[in-house]
Symmetry: C2
Subunit: 344 residues, 2 copies
DNA sequence: CGTTTCCATGGAAACGATTCCATACAACAC
DNA sequence: GTGTTGTATGGAATCGTTTCCATGGAAACG
């Protein structure tokens, strides 16, 4: 691996490294002659500037960190794609980290990102403001929270207003005659887990539905806990007639076990999931969901991060959520219809 | 953003930067006294070594690049997760890039990765050995191909033997009485697109099925092209009675349009997809698939890359594929059964 | 023609770490 | 007491850039 440096380029072009550097960085104080000779030398040698050295000198790394819980979650995969593409368009590369919903992995990754001197960090945070999150603040590292927040920290964020979507979902189920809705909650260590749970609690109170605490199962946003939740809820003396899962993976787990148990979704039991995933509409019956726009979230997050990097102080953004009714939430009285035509 | 350097640590600890550096890198030539004082200074100042500077001096960046076509493809999301976790365990962070199945984006990203001096690159390549792929070779940058290869390049790879799975799928469909199988192919610019197509061609010849060229539609591994493929194939004078999609996303597109057209999968038309995705088993009817292990592929790729970085020359690995029969491939004569119990 | 302005240029100092090399000192053997 | 190890230490060079500063020559001005 022969290293070709700017020295080689300068030598071949017959100019000093200073001039070569100026040409390479587009500094106008260069003669057309030098420009041409340097350009020729660059292609001749297939020279690639060393980004490390450049970063060291200029204290910009042209990279951002993206820390999510798990890219295998379609929601975060979409987010990762959008963020990566938007960042690339702005000249940044993206370092991807999976925290796997574990605080110590999050801290470990944040430390790595700090060490790498990324120019900014987009993170779907976990836990409270302790650990490495605090370092981000004391070091004034440009940071944007996405999807989730951390209480008491003054960091701009892009989140979803779960309240509206969840209220619509509960009202929809209540209107269909359901009185006992089982809720498969996200972890309370995440703001989304807490917010959605709170929204659900308020919604069933307003709708006058059963507030039996046994109807709530606390999962971890992974598929397996969705299955476990269904298992637990169906064993109640008075099992729920409808289910609301706080994210798509737990909904997948729920569907899997319901299939296995022979319970017909949309007929024997209603199911609504938070997060819309393209193929949820392909299920039979098509899954009713609370939808919010991941792409928008990702784009806005990058926008905001760029602003913070530029010294700005963008306002936090809250995106709406809305219920999309498909077949899986059909009423206990009215049987399941065919696949919905609504494909969104 | 006050920058704390090793100088500050050394000053506070009352030692030279050389000694501080030695302590930090675990060099044994240090006294217990210095060790203690440096350690105290590090925590006191919350010092984080600058990875850029370290990389510049040591010519190792402790980072690898992972370039896939699209993380939104569950196959690549799984791969990204596995690779990222395996790399992290080995002390590397992962730079993620999406080439979006476009050569120029692949080249652009490869250039960036070269400039960043990543220690190695794992890539699901696209196209031939032209463009920036060639630079990888001339610069002897440790590289491993994953899922796909590029003809004529001496780069170790981890791929899947599509042949077996596809043969099984075709035989399975032939045994059920299908004679006209529609094939939704991947792009011929990818080795998997070519290999799977070739395997399909051989398999239908061996099985004595129709080799009508109109039964092949060339897609691009994206959902939309799956829909387009189904659309085209169903308009044939003699439409196929079974479909084989060369990846999961095109299968999703196919399912979407089949739903819309009211064709019952597993009854009116059979469908098998290449790539197994967790929730394919949750569809109704559950999707028959040609399965191969992404996790294994990712782990092996990282293993091999670490070997190459260490100067080794690992042998390429070919992983098996196998048909998993569920309900979507039921015969035209025997109607669809319920959801398969096989959940893998 | 002399003086000022402008601009391209090269030398050299940074950036923050690692590491070679020389030194100083203690410990040991003779 | 001298000589030989050995060990902890600090100074300084180095990695590949960018950028400040000084310089030299051409152009423009009186």
């Amino acid at each position: 691996m022969v290293a070709i440096t700017i020295k080689d380029v300068a030598a071949l072009a017959g100019v000093s490294v200073a001039t070569a550097s100026r040409v390479l960085s587009g500094n106008p104080a260069t003669s057309p002659d030098s420009r041409a000779r340097v350009a020729a030398a660059v292609t001749e040698l297939d020279y690639r500037p060393n980004a490390q050295a450049r970063a060291l000198r200029s204290t910009r790394s042209d990279s951002i960190g993206l820390l999510v819980s798990d890219v295998r979650n379609p929601f975060f995969a979409d987010l990762a794609h959008t963020v990566e593409q938007a960042a690339l368009a702005a000249g940044y590369v993206t370092l991807l980290g999976n925290a796997n919903e574990r605080k110590e992995q999050q801290d470990r990754y944040l430390n790595t990102l700090i060490s790498r001197r990324v120019d900014g960090i987009i993170v779907a945070p976990l836990g409270d403001g302790s650990g490495s999150i605090r370092s981000l603040i004391t070091r004034e590292i440009p940071t944007v929270f996405v999807d989730r927040t951390v209480d008491g920290l003054d960091i701009p964020s892009v989140t979803t207003d779960s309240e509206a979507g969840i209220r619509q979902a509960v009202e929809h189920l209540a209107a269909a005659g359901h009185t006992r809705i089982g809720y498969i909650s996200g972890p309370q260590a995440t703001s989304t887990g807490r917010d959605r749970f709170a929204a659900f609690t308020r919604a069933i109170a307003v709708a006058g539905l059963s507030q039996d605490p046994d109807l709530v199962y606390f999962g971890d946003y992974q598929a397996a806990s969705g299955s476990a939740g269904v298992h637990a809820l169906l064993q109640l003396r008075e099992p729920p007639t409808a289910l609301l899962a706080a994210d798509s993976l737990m909904a997948v787990g729920a569907i899997a076990i319901l299939h296995k148990l022979g319970r017909r979704i949309g007929a024997d039991i209603a199911l609504i999931a938070f997060d819309d995933i393209e193929w949820f509409a392909l299920l039979n019956p098509a899954l009713s969901v609370i939808s919010h726009s991941v792409e928008e979230m990702g784009r806005i997050a990058v926008d905001m991060l760029l602003q913070v990097i530029d010294g700005g102080q963008p306002e936090s953004v809250v995106l709406p959520s809305e219920l999309i009714v498909r077949a899986s939430s059909s009423t206990p009285t009215s049987p399941a219809s065919g696949p919905s035509l609504r494909t969104n």
